[in-house]
């Protein structure tokens, strides 16, 4: 096996994990605090991509696209929460799932009305478009490296905010016992609007980060939302730390499976069998992983403490 390739795929897996974490962070908190299933979280990822692409096209600056996109997504998330989602907290999961499914249909179509039908593409900023040489002679795309760094910074920031600030304490209190926290004087509904807005912003950021690579397309949210659910479930609902570890694990498993499973199979099976089974197995790998995790630990790998 080629070690440089292995290292490169490790980084790719890590980068996918970081992107998944950005989406999963908001989702796991809304689950944890409000017991609310939001299928439409993927739509915020999509909207982030479109807003960023639009601003970047106007101003010719990707950085401005991201910087202006973030507050837009924050406001949008809070608006959606107040207008549409707030009434759903008291309903059962079925209602939440269905209503947010309706929102997905709406947003996907809205995006097609406002923006070009085949989506938008933007160029990578010039400074980041090259490759960089890492130690041991590994060559890696600067832009992807930037994604990893941004993701790690955000993860660190979130970890600090949830673990060491006053509002983070309130979030944790809300997640472990909503009623008790509310009885102690925390304005849960305001807290939740803020948490939802921040979650929307992070999901949007994830969308913005992939736009130069994948472009912005209608329906891009559905492709990641299931993966994100897997992350949240595996990590343990309501746990930021769990979401991060699970996201990285799943990013690595998925990427490694896709690149190396057929090679591994070759050592056991004939070339034909390995070629046929490789892609099939690798696409199932993370789901199998989730099943195994839930079979042995139904509450996820790293459930929040005290919950």
């Amino acid at each position: 096996m080629d070690w440089v390739l292995l290292a490169e795929q490790c980084l790719n897996g890590f980068q996918l994990g970081v992107l998944l974490f950005l989406i999963a962070a908001g989702l796991t908190l809304t689950f944890g605090i409000m017991d609310f299933v939001n299928l439409a979280h993927g739509s915020l990822y999509m909207l982030g991509a479109f807003v960023c692409a639009t601003v970047a096209t106007w101003t010719d600056s990707y950085l401005l696209g991201v910087l202006l996109g973030l507050p837009v997504l924050l406001a949008l998330g809070m608006l959606i929460e107040v207008v549409a989602l707030r009434t759903l907290y008291q309903r059962d999961h079925l209602d939440q799932v269905l209503a947010t499914f309706g929102l997905i249909l709406f947003f996907n179509e809205l995006v097609q009305v406002i923006w070009p039908l085949d989506g938008m593409n933007i160029a990578m900023p010039e400074i980041l478009s090259g490759t960089m040489i890492l130690p041991l002679g590994i060559e890696y795309s600067t832009f992807r490296m930037m994604i990893i760094v941004v993701g790690l910074v955000v993860a660190g920031g979130l970890w600090y905010a949830v673990g060491a600030t006053r509002i983070g304490m309130q979030v944790r209190a809300g997640a472990s016992n909503r009623r008790m926290a509310s009885a102690l004087g925390i304005n849960i509904s305001l807290l939740f609007t803020v948490v939802f807005g921040v979650g929307a912003m992070l999901a949007g950021l994830s969308g913005m980060l992939v736009t130069p690579i994948l472009g912005a397309t209608s329906g891009m949210g559905e492709q990641v939302i299931i993966l994100t659910f897997v992350v949240v479930v595996v990590g343990g609902i309501g746990s930021i730390r769990g979401a991060f570890l699970a996201a990285v694990l799943i990013g690595l498993i998925d990427t490694m499976g896709r690149s190396f499973l057929d090679v591994l199979l070759l050592t056991v099976f004939s070339a034909n069998a390995a070629e046929a089974a490789g892609p099939a197995l690798s696409s199932m790998l993370i789901y199998v992983f989730m099943i195994v995790v839930l079979f042995f630990r139904p509450q996820g790998l790293f459930p929040p403490r005290g919950a």
Binding site: D35, D92, L94, G102, I226, I291
Partner: protein, 321 residues
């Protein structure tokens, strides 16, 4: 039950409409409506099967379209290898549905609430990606089915549109009758009881896990019937059939019609399809209206169209949170 309650009269009217549709379509020279209604009846069967779990068992499966796809691919793959014998094809299709639903049900029923929703969703996506990676069977382009299932009987020749239509009709009636008998049987009582108070049912000595699993498998196989029929009507099957958004639409049909009412899902499938067809003719962006419509139904009419006929007699209703 009162024989002539508004609910029964309505059901009878809808079924009469289904039965008369080929004649009506022909008379008013709108022959494509025969196909439209064939599809509506197929979706009705799928929705009726989902209702067994969702409405009566309180199991929110977000991966039910999986069985449409599994059975459809059984027909497609068999035809691809030039096996067109319907008895063989259909047995393979329904057995695979039974097997897959038994395995997936056994796994997902270990969990509750949100976890159950997500696991059923993830499992169906797993099969979705599996099919996409199968290049021999067309991967994401789908698989054209060149020959319909062949029963070897002249009066059951599926190439005849009229025979196809009435086979679907008869199977729909069969599924409705079966689910009516099932939910009113001792088995159905246990499943419904487990939805409203699981601990109490357990305390009475029933192992609710096995009852739920059986219900899961029955629903999977019944949905498989819809998949077999759909493959024969469309002569095409694609991974899109079992995408999780299809499962979402199925849930919506059940809720729109009225969960936990035996006939509700048929009403739901009918309204869902006519509405989306009409809206699609007005504007290509009909989802812009349809999405909020779904939200409004959930917010203001969570018991669906069936609730217009007053409370049903203890059957069904919604599980409390």
């Amino acid at each position: 039950m009162q024989i002539l309650s508004p609910r029964t009269v309505f059901a009878a009217l809808v079924l009469t409409l289904f039965a008369a549709m080929p004649w009506l379509a022909n008379t008013f020279d709108q022959s494509h409506y025969q196909d439209v209604f064939a599809r509506i009846m197929i979706w009705s069967i799928a929705a009726v099967s989902l209702n067994l779990m969702l409405g009566f068992g309180g199991m929110v499966s977000f991966g039910h379209a999986l069985y449409l796809g599994v059975a459809g691919y059984a027909v497609g793959i068999a035809a691809h290898h030039e096996i067109t014998n319907a008895w063989l094809q259909w047995s393979i299709g329904l057995l695979s549905c039974a097997l897959i639903s038994a395995i997936f049900g056994a796994i997902s029923l270990r969990t509750r609430g949100v976890y159950f929703i997500m696991i059923t969703m993830a499992l169906s996506q797993m099969v979705y990606f599996l099919i996409i990676s199968a290049e021999e069977y067309g991967s994401d382009d789908g698989l054209v089915i060149y020959a319909r299932s062949d029963f070897g009987l002249a009066w059951l020749d599926l190439n005849d549109a009229m025979i196809r239509y009435y086979l679907i009709f008869v199977l729909l009636i069969g599924c409705l009758y079966f689910s009516y008998r099932l939910v009113n049987s001792r088995f159905g009582m246990v499943v419904r009881g487990a939805r409203s108070n699981q601990d109490r049912v357990e305390a009475m000595g029933y192992s609710t896990y096995w009852y739920r699993l059986t219900c899961f498998v029955i629903a999977g196989v019944m949905c498989g019937i819809a998949g077999l029929l759909s493959a024969n009507v469309e002569e095409f099957i694609s991974p899109d059939t079992l995408h999780w958004t299809r499962s979402g639409e199925l849930i919506f049909m059940v809720v729109l019609g009225g969960m936990g009412s035996v006939f509700g899902p048929v009403t739901g499938a009918l309204v869902f399809h006519l509405l989306s067809k009409e809206l699609a003719e007005i504007t290509t962006h009909w989802h812009l209206v349809f999405g909020p419509f779904l939200v409004l139904i959930v917010l203001f009419a969570p018991r669906g169209i069936d609730s217009l006929f007053g409370l049903s007699r203890g059957i069904g209703g919604r599980a409390d949170k």
